[in-house]
Amino acid sequence: MEFTLKTFIFYGFALMTIASALAVVTVRNIVHAAFALMVTLFGVAGLYVFLQADFLAATQVIVYVGGILVLILFGVMMTSGRLEMRIHIERGQLLLGGGISLALLMLLLTVIANTPIWKNLTDDGTQLAPTTERIGQLILNEKFLLPFEVVSVLLLVALIGAALISRKEVRD
């Protein structure tokens, strides 16, 4: 693999993603963790760009960074009344959790390495057309219409449900 600017940037994004993800799971201050997560999400968006999924990358940034992350931060603020931002971790649990995660990682890596059909599938460099229009067609006009509608209803239900659950009890 030659080492071009493109690969360099790719590795940069990859590193950024992994490092910030590591930060998410390790830093003790929960607000810091949230910001680290933001970086991770950006990183993933960058990877999407490399995969020539332009629409998806944009969505990732808008929805995740703009929506979900803000939601999480709100959650942090509303639940940590006394600014109890420290995260407690028990040693035993840490070890066990780390063990299991590591084991899983190893397993996954083994699988990735040992699956023949996944080998040597490199980026052939074909330039794909911009995806936004086509995705719009697919979602609103063609075969993904029904799933899209279903997922819309799901989202609606989730929002209503969330509002219902989180509001203060009026009855009783």
Binding site: Q93, L96, G97, I100, A103, L104, L107, T110
Partner: protein, 734 residues
Amino acid sequence: MVVPLISIILLAPLASFAIFALLGLAKRNFPRQDYLSTFAMLVALGCSLLLIQEVTSEPTPLTVEWLSLGSVNFSMGFYLDSVTVIMLIVVTLVSSLVHIFSIGYMHGDPRYSRFFAFLSLFSFSMLFLVVSDNLLGIYIGWELVGLCSYLLIGFWFEKDTAANACKKAFLTTRVGDVGMFIGMMMLFAEFRTLSLYGDTGIFEAVATLESGQIAWLSIAGILIFCGAVGKSAQVPLHTWLPDAMEGPTPVSALIHAATMVAAGVYLVARMFPILTPTSSLVIAYVGGITALVAATIAIVRFDIKRVLAYSTISQLGYMMLAIGAGSYVAGLFHLTTHAFFKALLFLGSGSVIHAFHAMHAHHDDAEHTEDAAHEHADNSLVHEHGSEIPPDQDMRNMGGLRRKMPLTFITMLIATLSISGVPFVFSGFWSKDKILGGVLGRAMEWNSVHHYILFAMALIAAGITAFYMFRLIFMTFFGEPRNQEMHDMAHESPWVMVVPLIVLAVLSFPVVNTLWFNKDYIEPPPQHHIPAPQHAYVSPDSKIGDANFGFSLFGVSTAQAAEEDAGPDTAQADDAYHIHHRAHNIAMVLSICVAGLGILLSWLFYHRRRFSAEGVATTFRPVYNLFWNKYYFDEFYDGVLVALTVWKSRLFAKFDLSFIDGIVNGVGKITRDIFAAFIGFFDNRVVDGFVNRVAEVTWAAGGRIRKIQTGAIQTYLFVVLGGIVLIILIFRLF
């Protein structure tokens, strides 16, 4: 014409009941249910009379398919022969008269309409039974009359005695009915049909059986007879009938004297062709024993209705005896005559009771029934083996009524003369004589000890009958009033009650004989499995009876015909003919003698007071006690029960509980207390316990296992993921 007529006969009373029931559902009452019912019965009577001329010599069943099950079919239909017609006339006639009588007797009863509706339903059921051409139809009618009997015995259900009596009646007869049903099942299993007549009917099939195959037929016959034992109150299922006197007296007259109880006799007569020598003999013996037992018990009763009830049982035994001994025509003849004179006796007694009863009921008609119940509580003066005699039915309160109630007296006297067998003028004599002659004839012809014994039984019973019937008359109508207060209140009954009495009294003269002496009219069906000389079922009775006495009074017409018919018979038949001839002469003389003796003794005891009944009773204390306690059936069975239920015995022994009185209650109690209690215990502990144990084990196991559930989701996740890793590792490694 036959089918429409029969349909009208059946539908008229049914419609009358249906109107009552439908209006009842709407909580209304037909204002004149009494007239409606009576009218329906009169219509039925008219149609029955029209049917006389429709009888053909070769009757065929008129059937429709009722149930079709592929391979097996059940049909329902009518069968009209001479016997059917006679039964129809008897039932509709007595029923009409009882209806009319009831208009007076039941006047003022709070459930007046219901009474007539029930009578209508009864009439329908009884008529249905009579015209049915197959066993299933007969069984249906059979059970329906049982239901009506139940409803009518329990008509005054506020009285505990009535409530008990109706239950007992239904259950006791049902025991017999189950026997009958088993018999039907046997016949069905063998012949695959329950139709009696026609080419595919049971009778045709029975005729083709080999003589070696009739052992089971005997059993089937006896089982079917069981139904008759229950319904016609034969020993040992007779105890319900005296208790059934708790019902209103017209009911006793119609159902428990004239028609329903005679249905048993009718059934056995219908089943005549399937009877074998064994089953015939069993039937005859049961009948004979019943006749004797009931007659002896009747001697010592004081309740006027109970005397008549036992007399009914005794007479029914007579009829059974006749049919069992092969005297088909004689049995049915006696059934007919008995229906009239016994209905008359009951209605007469009803008239007497009504006269006495008025005293209690007069002040408030509406509380008529409650009064009746009260009397029971208050006037516990007289005890009859645990049950009390209502004072208005106690003959010891009566006496000298002949002047107060002349019409009732005369009509009842006629009936009494008839039942006692006073010769020539009264129908009872003829029918009874026919039976005696028939039995003796068979005894002489077969030289059979059994039939001699049966003859003796019948003869003795005849004598006793005369004795107790005249005892009743003397105690009630002659002598001085024993209870002046009640006597003063007594009065002759209104005309609606007296007219039926008079009509029935007329019928107690041998007007009815005409049909019976007409040989062409009634012919016993052949019995294929009774090895008698061939002519014997071409009718020993009708032929001989006619030959000798056909000339008498109203039965003149057919004597000659009978003589002519005897002509073509063989020499052997001639022999038999002569035997029967002689038998009838002997029987007649003997029967006149015993009847006379009975009446004489009765006169000496109860009218002239030459002998003291009490004195005799004291002298023969054991015998008297035997009769008074109804043959100690109670004590005997009590002993058996006690052996079975020692721990319960003390409780039972305190009561003077009669076994047969309590056979239903008793068995019910015992099964409930022991058997059912045991089963209940088993049910609760073992079966239920098992289920509960399983639940407990599950519960305990759950208690242990639930400790695993910590409620901390992360723990779960640990386990899940650890499990996944493990599983994958295992698959990877091996």
